[in-house]
Symmetry: C2
Subunit: 438 residues, 2 copies
């Protein structure tokens, strides 16, 4: 790798030139090593916000990030290795039932998840509300656990893609977060470091998502698919609606309960629909089902026979958690208090705002404003009325699970404004918006 | 001043919103105090490179910079206080004869200059090639010296506009230099901190200037004039050509010699033209001449009677320099060696490239690549043929004054490519391009 001048590279990017793979690899390496100053990287990142990145730049940048630290080696695992990533939403606990379902179908799922920040929850936080459950699994244990259980539910380790951690922290503090190429490369570098054969992306669109428009979400999905393609990893993306929360339970323990319902063959219809759709994509990418119909049958089979729930119980036990939680012979800790929110008029729910409800759960103590905030796993909101539902004044809209009166007082104003009720019937917009990929 | 969130301000600027005067003042104050990180300021600066600044933003930003440190107080000086600033070029020693001419006409000239960097020379470096001459004059001595001599030839002190020093260093290292509003506010904050009644700007355009096109230079001049207006300081700008060097002598002592020639009523015609034009503007801004004709007569008078030269001698002596240099009874140190560059064909000089010649002088040791490089004041280039001149093969194009064979070898290739000779006569483009301001 040649030596470059960071100021010259910033100026060229600023002026709209394309940087070479060697130059971009040098930037990532030199920033990770501390040779490039933060104030140089942040101004380069702002230039990227304005100028974007070509497919060539994006591929080189992501590869360099992905190789900035340790990479998981799953070459000993003969099964096809498929993971799923969601761009984050409210009530989005899909990974938790999805991973055991797909693993039960004979696919290896080396799933690495993140923590919640802002109004979106994080799979790791939800899993850790199961007593004893640990997610800090070193990369060298990955293959062994995957061979034994076909499933690992892990957090990002410190040694994996350190460039992304450093760049993300800098973007957060320098106003350079909203850039499709930077978001795409951040997600894809971490996922591709898992040594996958295929990846399914759930790109959320709407008030409770980071992408507010279908246009933006489509660009992000296409950009991530292009990175997957350039790395040689089959990648399929679904755009799904996130204007209202997914499912009926939002909050960490509440979402584990709903996930177990799904694994038992129950649960809310939107959760069932997304979980099944993504499971089918994962089976098709893995090549373990010859077509979508066969994949759907296989998914139904592992749920109906209890194999998916067994898989989850196995992994909970293998990662230190209490399997009695999965069996329902023991319950997760609950919040000490409940408060019911009622409809103020008759009509049809026209809006059940994901962002307001997500922020309300943060105010209840169930999410984080800063990365090192401690969360209360028990609090949250259980929805009784979602978009399209007919309600009569006084009907329950939601039950709030809370720990302190102060937290409830802080969350209530957000929740009281989260629902709109229309006198006319409402057509529920589709949950699955579009599909991008091969 | 309210407390603000720097990340929020960066995001708003990035997205094209206008920041308020209070917000911009807070940014400058908090960056100067270290509360805002460099990596936040550099990403804000890059957003400004892309988004520009409104007149309102620019005024507030410049005022905040100007008040970031000490400000010169010239309220005791009853004479009108007028300064001139050039955006920098090659062979541009105009300030040195101009300031004493204007001071001799009854105007107070509190001139603060900078050092050379890159291919452009700096007035301070040129003045310091006079043995003993000092330019580090504390702001509190300004008024006294100005009352006594009507002229101060000073450098920027550390306490004046510290925000500009910090921001300029960051811009230089983060690829955020070429932004018209940032350049304009940097220049104007320093000039307006001199407590002026009027300011004349010489905005250079062409190969040897920072602004390469008339369009860019016009935008810069208009932006600086708008800042002057919003501060209440009458500001006039001239756009002048900088495709070839100004005058015939380039290099520190060489330029002092040419400056003294001008003060004696001699010197190259382009130097005479610019010096006279800017002097007339300064006299008109000061209100000491009723019109341009009267101003020209006054300028001619102080040169022809030796009053301008006397003024320069006074100030040289007052600032520790040897007045015998001004009288010509003692000469400045000369470079040990000379090398003559000859024309290779007959014809007319169509190009005498300012940038190449400026860079050649840097390679001879007469300029700086880094801010703390030590310069050799004796070296430089004396031009014998400029654009439009008829030459015969073998005629002298220039004499190179050099100290070491290595420096000459490094500078020669640049100089050999600096001239073009055309078989057809060349029309010399105008030196004065346009005038902006009241």
């Amino acid at each position: 790798m040649a030596q470059h001048s960071i100021v010259e590279l910033i100026c060229r990017k600023r002026d709209g030139a394309e940087l070479s793979p060697d130059e971009l690899a040098w930037v990532i390496k030199s920033f990770t090593s501390g040779e490039i100053e933060k104030y140089q990287m942040s101004s380069l990142l702002m230039a990227i916000v304005f100028r974007g990145m070509t497919d060539g730049e994006l591929g080189a940048w992501t590869e360099a990030m992905l190789h900035s630290g340790e990479v998981v080696d799953l070459s000993d695992v003969a099964l096809p290795k498929i993971d799923k990533h969601s761009t984050g939403g409210v009530g989005d606990k899909v990974s938790i039932p999805l991973a055991p379902i797909v693993a039960a179908c004979g696919v290896a799922v080396p799933m690495m998840s993140g923590r919640g920040l802002g109004h979106t929850g994080g799979t790791l936080d939800k899993l850790e509300s199961i007593p004893g459950f640990f997610t800090n699994i070193p990369p060298e244990d990955f293959a062994k656990r995957l061979l034994e259980h076909q499933l690992v539910l892990a957090g990002q380790t410190e040694t994996l893609v350190p460039a992304d951690k450093a760049i993300y922290a800098l973007r957060d503090a320098s106003g350079t977060v909203p850039s499709i190429p930077l978001i795409a490369s951040s997600i894809m570098s971490k996922k591709l470091a898992e040594d996958l054969d295929g990846l399914v992306l759930d790109v959320k669109v709407g008030s409770g998502a980071f992408m507010k428009t279908v246009d933006e979400a489509t660009r992000l999905a296409e950009t991530m698919a292009a990175i997957g393609r350039s790395h040689g990893t089959a990648t399929v993306a679904h755009l799904t609606a996130m204007d209202q929360p997914l499912g009926t339970r939002i909050g960490n323990t509440l979402e584990i309960e709903e996930s177990i319902e799904i694994l038992r063959g129950g649960g809310p219809s939107d959760m069932i629909e997304i979980t099944r759709t993504l499971a089918v994509e994962m089976l098709l990418l893995a090549g373990v089902a010859r077509d979508a119909d066969a994949a759907i049958s296989r998914v139904r089979h592992v749920v109906n026979t209890g194999q998916a729930l067994d898989k989850f119980r196995d992994v909970v036990a293998a990662q230190g958690g209490d399997p009695a939680i999965v069996d329902g012979t023991r319950h997760l800790a609950a919040a000490p208090h409940k408060h019911t929110l009622h409809a103020r008029s008759d009509g049809y729910v026209s809006r059940c705002d994901a962002l307001s409800i997500g922020m309300a759960v943060v105010r209840l103590g169930g999410g984080r404003v800063k990365a090192n905030d401690v969360i209360d796993p028990t609090v949250g909101v259980v929805l009784a009325a979602k978009v399209g539902d007919a309600v009569t004044g006084g009907d329950e809209l939601a039950t709030i699970h809370y720990s302190t009166a102060e937290a409830l007082a802080s969350a209530l104003p957000l929740l009281e404004r989260a629902w709109s009720i229309s006198p006319d019937p409402i057509e529920v917009p589709p949950l699955l918006i579009s599909r991008i990929g091969r």
